[in-house]
């Protein structure tokens, strides 16, 4: 279910690392909690994000949820497809529903994040 090469946060974001780039999205758990996503607000390319800074907003019919950056860095790409097809966040949260890509500034921050094993254990704790 949850890819084993991602890092995860307690706020249910994920980041996939390729070289010095990190692709960021929200987890399957997060999209299930939200329900049908109908609106996504993303930062502009070039925005500098601090660790845990708000990168955008995801709204379902009923709920508004902030999304935080799992790592600091500069936004180098955003998934503009989400403007017209926000449902991608429900359909493929770990793939086509990616939100932004950033150039990672400090990869030591990754140590603050959870591995897939840790995240799955964290989710089990939430469900109890």
């Amino acid at each position: 279910m949850y890819p084993d090469n991602f890092y995860y946060t307690k706020d249910h974001e994920w980041v996939r690392i390729e070289g010095d780039k990190g692709t960021i999205g929200i987890t399957d758990f997060a999209q299930k909690q939200l329900g049908d996503v109908v609106y996504v607000e993303l930062p502009a390319v070039g925005t500098n994000l601090e660790f845990h800074q708000t990168i955008g907003v995801v709204e379902s019919v009923k709920a508004v949820s902030d999304v935080y950056s799992p790592v600091s860095g500069e936004v180098v790409a955003v998934n503009t497809e989400l403007n017209d097809s926000p449902e991608l966040l429900n359909e493929d949260p770990h793939g086509k529903g990616w939100m932004i890509q950033i150039k990672i500034r400090d990869d030591s921050e990754l140590q603050k994040l959870m591995t897939v094993e840790e995240y799955e254990k964290f989710l089990e704790g939430l469900e109890e």
Binding site: G35, D36, V38, V61, K62, V64
Partner: protein, 363 residues
């Protein structure tokens, strides 16, 4: 937390449950948008047993209902239903409600879950001088709403009641799936449909039999989430959002439930004065022109001036855009007026549109 008799049925269906005014209720089952569209195109089944029921009986029952509510209850013959309100002396809402005339001098009031205790106390506190008996039967009844264009055809074989002869806003006692029930051709979705009240200890029989009967047609159980988006598209007021003790019946655009000629009722003087002098503000609907979803309490701007706030707002699954309601000073209520909604740190353009947002095409 209070639970309806269908609580376990919802959990078995995998519903996401939430707390709603001290009730544990299903907010969605298969997904809000899917459930919403099922009601618009097929049919959907709702557990709304949290709604309150108050019975007024006795020699003065009609006079008492006439005094408490602005609509003309004298027009109700047994089996007829009307939308009305419990009004304060200021012409504002204690609650909005349905008034059923079950028999001569027997009136059944269906009120909001969040208000049922308050309404009961309010009614009791005004009964002096009226020969009536008032009973809060809220915990006795289960209520199942079955709404959508296919509801009629699916329900028909499950009851001996002749549904063909039931017009909109009428009710009839009978059985559904073998359980005794009051069947009412009313609803809160903008679609044709029924609300089924039962004292049965096994309301899940009604629920399960309807779901089974409509399975091939693709009907769905529907949660409170879609109930809210459906009622907002149809521009049916929600107490606590769009109407409350600070908004008058006329300001809420519900002048059609105020019958001044019927005689005295609570709030009549204020409402009559408002009618003669004209109201200063009125509820309006708006649609987003730019991307964004309005939510309750978001600020409403005309130019730089914050003049109001959103009372109800959502993404409309049917219209696929943001819609909402707000009260505006009367000079800004014309269709086409541009207003801005403050969403986070931005002002998003919207315009005043005709209400309702959605109206079904009647056959």
């Amino acid at each position: 937390m209070k639970r309806t008799r269908l609580n376990l049925t919802h959990k078995k269906l995998g519903a996401k449950m939430i707390e709603f005014f001290d009730w544990e209720m299903p907010v969605e089952y298969s997904g809000l948008i899917q459930e919403h569209m099922a009601v618009r195109t097929k049919a959907g089944l709702f557990d709304v047993s949290h709604m309150g029921e108050i019975l007024i009986t006795g020699k003065d029952a009609l006079d008492f209902v006439q005094y408490l509510t602005p609509n003309n209850a004298a027009r109700l013959t047994p089996g007829k239903v009307q939308y009305s309100a419990l009004t304060t002396p200021e012409g504002t809402f204690v609650d909005d409600l349905l008034v059923y005339c079950l028999e001569e001098n027997i009136y059944f009031l269906v009120v909001n879950a969040s208000n049922s205790d308050k309404d009961y106390e309010w009614i009791l506190s005004h009964k002096n001088g009226f020969d009536v008996k008032v009973e809060n039967q809220s915990s006795c009844y289960s209520q199942i709403a079955f709404q959508g264009p296919l509801a009629f055809g699916i329900l028909k074989p499950l009851t001996e009641v002749n549904l063909e002869q039931m017009n909109s806003f009428t009710s009839n006692w009978g059985h559904v799936a073998g359980e005794e029930a009051l069947i009412s051709r009313t609803g809160y979705t903008g679609e044709d449909g029924f609300e089924i009240y039962t004292l049965s200890q096994n309301p899940e029989k009604i629920w399960n039999v309807i779901l089974e009967q409509g399975k091939e047609d693709g009907i769905l159980p529907v949660g409170l989430g879609a109930r809210d988006t459906l009622r907002l598209e149809a521009t049916l007021m929600l107490y606590g959002n769009d109407i409350d003790e600070t908004t008058t019946v006329l300001e809420a655009g519900l002048g059609w439930i105020v019958k001044f000629k019927k005689g005295d009722f609570l709030g009549r003087d204020v409402l009559l004065r408002q009618k003669e002098e004209g109201i200063e503000r009125k509820i309006v609907g708006f649609e987003m022109i730019e991307r964004g979803i309005p939510r309750p309490h978001y600020p409403v701007f005309i130019g730089d001036e914050k003049i109001s706030q959103v009372t109800s707002g959502t993404f409309s699954p049917y219209l696929k855009k943001g819609i909402g309601l707000t009260y505006l000073p009367i000079e800004y209520t014309e269709i086409g007026t541009m207003i801005d909604i403050g969403i986070r740190d931005k002002k998003i353009k919207t315009q005043v549109v005709p209400l309702p947002f959605y109206k079904r095409i009647k056959e």
